[in-house]
């Protein structure tokens, strides 16, 4: 089985290098095909591993060679395919294979075609390193690797120029890329500190060793570990307050948004918490804070999605909100539920994004949903897929989201955190509303695009074909809940929900009710002309539309002061004070040289005078210090 681990892991890398070899050449279709094929190979290997694991229940471990060895630290390149990582592998490789195929069509006219596939496959490789590593350092390699690929891919259209914030809230792809990278780095520092704590208290970064010894440690130390690792997770998973980069990351090509910023990379934080469950299950307090933050983000992000007019940003906020749901589950100890929602979410959110990509293509990269409408007529399949995805997202039976999201709400209720439950419940309503607001504005109603002179068309058949499996999974994935639970709880702790009977049915009913009413409200409102323009004047609308003014706040609070401080540090402190002090001291020495030059005038009588003065001084000194008296 070891060879399948290696094939699954390295096939994307080979593809990336292959495409990379053509990176500076004009478009070659072969790069897209080869990378997709290799990813399919990787997917098949992952499936083989999954079935093997189902049969044997024995994790497959592979050690390549030592990476860093020093002191008592030994970090090997070790990979493991256990219940959790196999689930992640299958999800990641499946979604990425489909996204690759889809991208062949989506990027067909882009001059960076080859480069795109190289980056995209490199991303998959990094993501696989992240989920397959058997130690925290390996995880960190993948963690930073996906960060790099995300930087490359957000900034893929690097040649676009910076726009003022009013024109484009993300300024430019390169700006958004840098923002994402730097913000992730802030979190990475936290994560690094977490690794240091683990190392200095346990002496290893290997999962097995760490998790075997963690319960021996002092609770304060475990708490610190948990907090710092979670800071790392907050960055990658764009949790408040490090969330602004995710919406701006939508500057990247849409397949990138589907793969990286919805299905896989952003869930790495959830994966980290799930993977580190032996740490987090020791510290339920921190778990509760994680859950509380998750619930907050779930509502917070959903509220921003309510009013946004940008097709991709709405979906991005929705991703943010769903990540919040996952963290609620993970924080409350229902690790398998978090993982389950992670998986189903990957399917339907990727589907949603790919659908959005089709729409963008049809609309010449227009993103404002108020310039669309009535697209159902020309883009039937895309519309159907997106409706399926939205239903799944809203948690309507029998779509996948119903099973996973409802479970999270149950968990919150069961843990007696009724406030969290209520927030998530409200969030579910908002989710349903904004999803169908988007559907209504894009696919139904008045055909506003005609005014702007667009000529939409349906996407290529193979792009739709690539979406079809996702659509299928978005419908049926939920029914795998029980085998899934059984499978992953071989590794993860089980979580028993104590709610049964009438209460459980009532909860499901309540959740479905608010989801359905959200949908109904959206459908009703936007088939009757939407909200009145006065709504746009209100404070709440502006607050939500401007993302609670948080980007502006960050700009004013951190970026600009940092720029100013840097300028001051350079021009005032470094040049005026530090350097000037040095020059001043040097100047004194120089000046005393000039001043002393008169002594060496060359005039004999002056020199004689100096001599006499010296003589007298010596005489006086002799008399004063004469030892004989």
């Amino acid at each position: 089985m070891e060879k399948y681990v290696l094939i699954a892991l390295f096939a994307p890398l080979v593809g990336s290098l292959f495409a990379g070899a053509y990176a500076m050449k004009p478009k070659r279709l072969i790069t897209g095909i080869v990378t997709s094929a290799l990813l399919f190979v990787s997917f098949v290997s992952s499936l083989i591993l999954l079935f093997d694991l189902l049969k044997t229940e024995e994790a497959v471990r592979v050690k390549l060679f030592d990476w860093i060895t020093t002191g008592s630290l030994n970090i090997p390149f070790g990979f493991v395919a256990d219940q959790v990582s196999v689930i992640m592998m299958v999800t990641v490789t499946l979604v990425s294979t489909l996204v690759h195929v889809y991208s062949i069509g989506y990027m067909e006219h882009d001059k960076g075609f080859n480069r795109f596939f190289s980056y995209l496959s490199a991303f998959v490789f990094s993501m696989l390193v992240l989920v397959m590593s058997d130690n925290f350092a390996g995880l960190f390699i993948g963690w930073e690797g996906v960060g790099l690929c995300s930087w490359l891919l957000i900034g893929f259209w690097y040649y676009k120029k910076d726009e003022p914030k009013e024109v484009n809230p993300s300024i430019s792809p390169s700006w958004a890329a840098n923002e994402a990278f730097i913000m992730n780095r802030i979190a990475d520092l936290g994560m690094l500190i977490g690794l240091f704590i683990i190392y200095w208290h346990i002496g290893s970064l290997d999962y097995n060793v760490v998790f075997a010894h963690v319960n021996l440690l002092d609770i304060a130390i475990i708490t610190m570990m948990g907090i710092f690792l979670f800071i790392g997770a907050m960055g990658k998973s764009a949790q408040f307050p490090l969330h602004t980069w995710l919406a701006d990351a939508m500057e990247g090509p849409t397949p990138v948004s589907a793969l990286i910023h919805a299905a896989t990379m952003v869930t790495a934080g959830v994966y980290l918490v799930v993977r580190s469950f032996p740490i987090y299950s020791q510290i339920p307090n921190i778990g509760f804070y994680i859950a509380a933050l998750g619930a907050f983000v779930a509502v917070f992000a959903a509220s921003m999605a309510l009013v946004n007019t940008d097709l991709k940003r709405i979906i991005a906020y929705s991703t943010l909100s769903q990540l919040g749901y996952m963290f609620v589950a993970a924080g409350l100890g229902a690790y398998w539920v978090a993982l389950f929602h992670l998986m189903t979410h990957a399917f339907f959110k990727a589907l949603l994004f790919l659908g959005a990509g089709n729409v963008m293509h049809a609309m010449n990269d227009e993103l404002n949903i108020f310039k669309m409408g009535g697209l159902y007529k020309v883009m039937r399949w895309t519309a159907i897929f997106m409706i399926i995805a939205s239903l799944a997202l809203s948690g309507i039976y029998p779509f996948a989201g119903f099973f996973s999201k409802d479970k999270i709400l149950e968990v919150a209720f069961d843990a007696q955190h009724y406030i969290l439950w209520f927030m998530l419940w409200v969030g579910a309503g908002m989710t349903a509303f904004y999803s169908f607001r988007l559907i209504m504005l894009v696919f139904f109603g008045e055909e506003r695009y005609k005014k702007y002179g667009f000529h939409p068309h349906e996407a290529h058949w193979y792009m739709l074909a690539a979406m079809a499996p996702l659509a299928l999974l978005a419908i049926v994935a939920g029914f795998f809940e029980e085998p899934f639970e059984e499978f992953v709880t071989q590794l993860l702790p089980e979580y028993h929900v104590h709610i049964h009977g009438i209460l459980a049915v009532a909860l499901i009913g309540l959740t479905t009710l608010i989801a359905l009413s959200g949908i109904a409200l959206a459908v009703y409102k936007y088939s009757h002309g939407g909200f009145s323009p006065k709504w746009k004047e209100t404070f709440i609308y502006k607050l939500l539309y401007n993302q609670y003014y948080i980007p502006v706040l960050y700009e004013k609070l951190f970026i600009e002061p940092y720029k100013e401080l840097s300028k001051i540090a350079w021009k005032e402190l470094d040049l005026r004070i530090v350097d000037a002090t040095v020059d001043f001291i040097a100047g004194i020495i120089y000046k005393s040289g000039f001043a002393g030059r008169v002594v060496q005038s060359g005039n004999l009588s002056k020199m004689l005078r100096w001599m006499v003065i010296g003589l007298l001084i010596l005489l006086v000194l002799v008399i004063v210090y004469s030892p004989v008296r």
Binding site: I68, T70, G71, Y159, I182, L195, H213
Partner: protein, 508 residues
Amino acid sequence: MNHILSLLVFFPALAAVLGFVVNKENIRVYGIAVAAIEFVLSLFLWFMFDPSNGGFQFVEFIPLIPDYGINYQLGVDGISLFIIILSTFITLIGLISLTIEKNVKNMIISLLFLEMTMVGVFVALDAIVFYVFWELSLVPMLYIIGYWGSELRIYAAIKFFLYTFFGSLIMLVGMLFLAYLYYLATGTISFSIPDWHRLILPYDYQFWLFLAFFMGMAIKVPMFPFHTWLPYAHGQAPTIGSVILAAVLLKMGTYGFVRFSLPIFPDASVALIGPIAILAVIMVIYTAMVAYAQEDMKQVIAYSSISHMGVIVLGTFAMNVEGIAGSVFLMISHGIVSGALFMLVGNIYDRKHTKKLSEFGGLAAVMPKYALIFGIMTMASVGLPLTIGFVGEFLSLMGFYKISPALTFLGGMSIILGAAYMLRLYKLTFFGPITKEENKKLPDLNWKELTSLIPLVLVVIWLGINPNPVLKPINKSVENLLTLMEKKAITPKAKEILGHNKVELEAK
């Protein structure tokens, strides 16, 4: 092969002297050939080096002035081995990439002479020999900056020379006094570094001597607030000067810490961890901010050098294997990465004769190969895993975490701020639309530039993925060093810190 070290030291110097008779057309080839032979020699040294032995190897000893304990004593251990290879490697790469036309013969001769002094510093086991090479290295650098530099070259060269010279004079006084103390303790004078390593000094002497050595090293590193000569030197020096200055000459300072300060003054080193770490943290954060504000490509990298050196200093004073080995590794990786970055800036300067950031933008479209290599080096500079930059930074910070989590956190800001200034540089240079008409026709890297850069890229990735061949010998020597320090420690604090520098699993 008993004299391989002498050969390593004096071969370039001899070749430099012979270089005077080589005619001008052939001097480049001659220089590259000499540097290549020297590099192969240093690789051979690595090949012969026994990684399981943490002590000094290939030791040579010729009495010079035995009455005063001054001897010609050379040797390498795991700590110096790779810095020597780094020196020869960077010199070779620098010579290949050399684009200077003006008086190229003198330049190549100076470079070969400089190579002798660099190798000499790292192989010297006698303080006087060390000092002689240390000071001699200033001379060719002074010439390189002062002759081939840009407008302010004289100011920059003199500042560089006088500033570092001033520091090393204080260090010299320290050395003389240390030899005198050795005389008091044993009855014979000795300038031999291994002898000094065995000397146990009272704490007060350690403290003042540590400060004397610190002045010499700190100015060389350069540590805040003694760093202001560096931006001028880099700003004015020709590309090759900056490459060697950043890659090798700065490492002399941190090497000095490891070679002199730690083993000779263990108690003072431990006692002064706090102030030095604070200086290092200031250095990391403050110069990273200054780097962010720069308007000139080269100055960004110059200040970034200072910032990274701060992390090296933190690792050096971590007092555990992880930290010190990490800092030695970071010296090497920073040498490679900053050298490469300066070379890349040189490439664009050759094309445009300006380094102003405002002159660029959108270069990724016209110079993709350049953008790719620059990108790899940028990522190595910000310490991305699987590049050479990560290993050292990770280990240095991890090591220092044992001493002080709070200061490590502040020092770790380097990974955030480093990303900020490097990505700003990258964005301003390579991203966005091409704003200047003349930039649309810039040629991409030519074969000569590629031959000098690709080896660096390979090293960056190879040692990023597999740093162990380098780390293992370093580990061994660092372990020896720490055992020595622990044995010598006299103050309770030093005993405490040096005795507990390993992982301890503390049960609840």
